[in-house]
């Protein structure tokens, strides 16, 4: 290792390119996190009947999953009541429409309902917050910091990466380990996640799109524009098919066994 280094980089590259990009990337991530928090609209207040319409479905689900904790008679009475109620649609918000629903109804436009518009807007906002800073940053780096070698990677790469990692540097025989600022940007893009985790706590929305799923608060899994009566019918069927097994069946014996 006595040979002189094949390439010597100016230290001012480090001070004026390497650190600024790192700092800007971190700050942009933090900014993005807070913008996402600000843009998140609070769920809209629904009126009583609409909430009942949505939550009664959850009631059926919870009876199915937790029914084993109540005695058979209680389970039976709830089962009969819920199936009846679902089939007769007594939880529906719009009783009038349900009564004369014989005429064919046009499929509801998801944009027409107040909830649907909100959800779409939320998704759009989330996407904007992700895409806009990334394009801006990339063009910023391309504009100011292109055309020179910034750093040396500690691991070798195949020649195929040369055109991507050394873009703007027109040297044919340079080792692929020497890379330009664009690669530093990409390293930051993928690697800063844990830095955000430390600064902003987990569950932050600064990083990539991996946590997009958690960004939508959701309305209990109910998509707008769906025919809720059909959901009721299928839920009634599900409840009907549920076999009930009482968990506390021989609880006395089990307790005695445990403390013998």
């Amino acid at each position: 290792m006595a040979t002189a280094p094949d390439l010597v980089l100016d230290p001012s590259l480090r001070d004026w390119v390497l650190f600024p990009i790192l700092l800007v990337m971190i700050l942009v991530g933090i900014l993005r996190h807070y913008i996402t928090l600000l843009l998140q609209s609070s769920p809209k207040q629904l009126d009583l009947l609409a909430i009942r319409e949505q939550q009664s479905l959850a009631r059926g689900v919870s009876l199915r999953s937790n029914g084993k904790l109540i005695p058979p008679s209680s389970f039976q009475s709830r089962k009969t009541y819920l199936i009846q109620a679902f089939k007769n649609g007594i939880f529906l918000k719009d009783q009038e429409a349900f009564k004369n629903k014989d005429e064919p109804k046009a499929p509801a436009n998801p944009l027409a309902e107040p909830g649907g518009m909100d959800q779409m807007l939320n998704m759009l906002k989330g996407n904007m917050v992700m895409i806009v800073p990334q394009t801006l940053l990339m063009s910023w780096i391309n504009f100011f910091f292109s055309g020179f070698i910034l750093m040396k990677l500690p691991f070798p790469l195949t020649v195929r990466f040369k055109s991507i990692l050394q873009s703007g540097v027109a040297t044919r025989d340079l080792d692929v380990r020497w890379v330009s600022s664009m690669s530093w940007y990409f390293l930051n893009l993928f690697g800063l996640r844990s830095v955000y985790d430390v600064i902003l706590g987990s569950n932050n929305s600064a990083g990539g799109g991996m946590d997009m799923a958690g960004m939508n608060p959701g309305m209990g899994g109910l998509q707008p524009g769906q025919d809720i009566y059909k959901l009721y019918l299928s839920e009634a069927e599900n409840i009907e098919l549920t076999t009930h097994e009482y968990l506390l069946e021989d609880i006395e014996d089990r307790i005695l066994e445990k403390y013998e």
């Binding site: 980089l9 230290p11 480090r14 390497l18 790192l22 084993k68 750093m151 040396k152 990677l153 500690p154 691991f155 070798p156 530093w184 390293l187 930051n188 993928f190 690697g191 800063l192 996640r193 844990s194 830095v195 985790d197 430390v198 987990s202 097994e245 968990l247």
Partner: protein
């Protein structure tokens, strides 16, 4: 309902606690992988040795998690013991590469 399901129902597992435990492991993983990257860069490790260093370090952290955090009984805190040994092992790799490159460049330059 078979025997296993029945046991699950009688002794239910709190999903919130499971998630919290997973988060703790994730946090430890990201912080330690960053630190491993810093040390690999300062040591001047190159190519395979750097990645070997990462995996050795991750295995060491797994051992510490197993012994100190889970007190030798990972099934008390996770659904399976693999959550400590294998789970999340690769989450820190990108941060490791970032800090490794950064400090390698700083020390080298």
């Amino acid at each position: 309902m078979d025997e296993k399901e029945r046991k699950q129902a009688i002794y239910p597992v709190s999903t919130e606690s499971l998630q919290q435990n997973g988060k703790t492991v994730y946090y430890i993983r990201s912080v330690t992988s960053t630190i491993f990257g810093v040390s690999a860069g300062i040591l001047g490790l190159e190519s395979y040795y750097g990645f070997l260093f990462y995996f050795a370090g991750t295995a060491f952290v797994s051992l510490l998690l197993f012994l100190l955090l889970a007190r030798g009984q990972p099934t008390e805190y996770f659904t399976s013991a693999n959550d400590i040994w294998i789970g999340n092992a690769l989450t820190g790799l990108s941060s490791f590469v970032l800090t490794w490159t950064l400090f390698y460049g700083l020390v080298d330059a």
